[in-house]
């Protein structure tokens, strides 16, 4: 049985309170970091732990910390990304609702390491309970002296506040998040420069997903070596997987990176619901290419999933059974992407709408020969041509779906109906 680290308090009564967090050993990493370690040592520690971002891109966290300028006279910021919106993903909401102090402790340590004195939590506007939990947790952390001036007598000061987004998936992208915090439309910026050099109000900014930050106190408490021993050599540490769709036990499962997909689906999630046959799996949220049944032995880590032609993404595994129409799945996902495109870049704005139009036509039995090729052409036309990764993300469900289930697409066109629901 894998020792739960990030979700260890989820089952405790009132697990979201500061009392529950402290009683379970919380806020012990903070004095250690502030009194015993230098900023440089902390950055080295996180680098050595191998911690990689949990928001989707998987960038090494320690390297990101190292990119911020060391000059103490430069104003720097930390942003906490709680704008979880990737279909299939619900781990960040659970983390914030059930153990917000674990994240706060991580933010303070990260801020100390990069020399930021001001932090902003950006949370999805829809997460009403999450907003309340964040505000209460921050208030309680101030009352205990973990936030504010001269934290625990260390001379380090840090302020943190909560900012509510207003319904835009794209604001989960770090530069769009920054734009939104500045009170603008959440349209991604062209990179480089990256936020580590030019971020919020033009200042160097560290943006992290909440799950990434939740790992930090544990690395400080138990050491980089211990952390690097969990998972695979290149994908270290625990990961909160979200599993949904056609499985018996849906929910979050914390497991070491590198766990086989088969084990997650059949042991932890109890297998396919109603004893149906498995058809396809999306391994890391709506933006990641889907896998076939033959790929069940792929392990869930950054490098293996990349080798399998897909991505770990947010670790949101969506399971689909034999009764699922793959054209309809693509149509649903494209409705999402076309709705959420910020419309700044033409390939994404027009590409998602045109693809959706063709998929809707096919669903209504009005597909025409050549549609599959048109879909492929449109999807390829979005890859690598947009400011942010959304163009690529939107192309993925279509291209991977056609690659695995081309015959189903052709069936829709030929027979004017679905092969599955027949």
């Amino acid at each position: 049985m894998f020792e739960k680290i990030l979700t260890r308090n989820f089952g405790l009564p009132r697990s979201e309170t500061i009392g529950a967090y402290i009683a379970s050993g919380g806020y012990q990493a903070l004095p250690k970091a502030l009194h015993e370690l230098t900023a440089e040592q902390l950055i080295d520690m996180v680098k050595a732990s191998g911690l990689r971002g949990r928001g989707g891109a998987g960038f090494p966290a320690g390297r990101k910390w190292g990119f911020l300028p060391k000059d103490p006279n430069v104003v720097k910021y930390v942003c906490v990304n709680t704008d979880e919106g990737e279909p299939g993903t619900f781990k960040d909401r659970e983390l914030v609702e059930k153990d917000p102090h674990q994240i706060i402790e991580g933010v303070i340590i990260a801020a100390y390491a990069v020399g930021a004195q001001r932090g902003f939590v950006y949370i999805r506007g829809e997460f009403f309970l999450g907003v309340k939990r964040w505000i209460k947790a921050i208030d309680d952390a101030y009352a205990k002296g973990f936030l504010g001036k001269d934290i625990l007598g260390s001379g380090f000061s840090f302020d943190l506040s909560v900012h509510r987004g207003a319904g835009a998936y794209i604001c989960g992208e770090e530069t769009a998040l920054i734009e939104s915090l500045e009170g603008k439309r959440g349209e991604p910026r062209l990179k480089p420069p990256y936020p580590a050099s030019v971020g919020l109000w033009g200042k160097p900014t560290l943006v992290h997903n909440v799950e990434t930050l939740a790992n930090v106190p544990h690395i400080v408490n138990r050491g980089a070596q211990w952390y690097a021993g969990i998972g695979t050599p290149k994908s270290t540490g625990p990961k909160i997987f979200c599993i949904s769709g056609h499985v018996k036990n849906r929910g979050v499962f914390e497991l070491p990176l590198g766990v086989p997909l088969r084990e997650l689906v059949y042991e932890h999630a109890g297998g396919v619901a109603f004893d149906k046959k498995l058809k396809a799996i999306i391994p890391g949220g709506a933006s990641t290419p889907m896998l076939s049944v033959e790929q069940l032995d792929t392990t869930l880590d950054f490098e293996s999933l990349e080798a399998a032609g897909t991505m770990l993404g947010t670790g949101a595994v969506i399971v689909m059974n034999e009764d699922t129409c793959m054209v309809d799945v693509a149509r649903r996902l494209m409705r999402f992407f076309s709705h959420e495109s910020c419309s700044r870049c033409t390939p994404c704005r027009n590409g998602t709408r045109s693809i959706l139009g063709i998929l809707e036509r096919m669903e209504h039995g009005e597909g025409v020969p050549g549609d599959v090729e048109r879909l492929e052409e449109l999807a390829r036309g979005m890859q690598g041509l947009t400011f942010c990764p959304m163009g690529d993300a939107a192309a993925n469900p279509v291209l991977s779906g056609i690659k695995l289930f081309r015959d189903e697409y052709e069936y829709h066109i030929q027979h004017k109906r679905c092969a599955v629901a027949a």
Partner: protein, 151 residues
Amino acid sequence: MQQNPKVADPAKRSMLLTALYIAQEQYGYLTEEAVERVAQRLDLTVSDVYSMASFYSLYRTKPTGRYVLQVCEGLSCYLTDGAERLVDYLRKRLSIEVAETTKDGLFTLQTVQCLAACGTSPAIRVNDALYENMTVEKVDELLETLRGYHV
């Protein structure tokens, strides 16, 4: 001569999302007057504020019913018999189409993108509250309860 567009204090502009929420709360939705007042207070142009209000889906520029029923149409909700099925049910039950409001002004039906409740799908959000593992029976109960507050 007319002044150039106002150059606003960047920190002041950061209050825009919050200010729009407050205005929406006070006015019920973002009326012209609400938008103008926000623009005035933050030294922004009206069109700039409108451009924000139209970008973010949680701002309303039209009146809605007392309860806004937002049915999640995310993939996981769809796979677990939610999404369209619940939308269709609500359309019939309330005799309105998506984006419309019932005659008594109680309910507005909307579809929304993934609510991050995929492990407990299908999900519906009613104003600020999230309802998970929804069925048509539970939808009926919910409507009854909400109606009960306004008899």
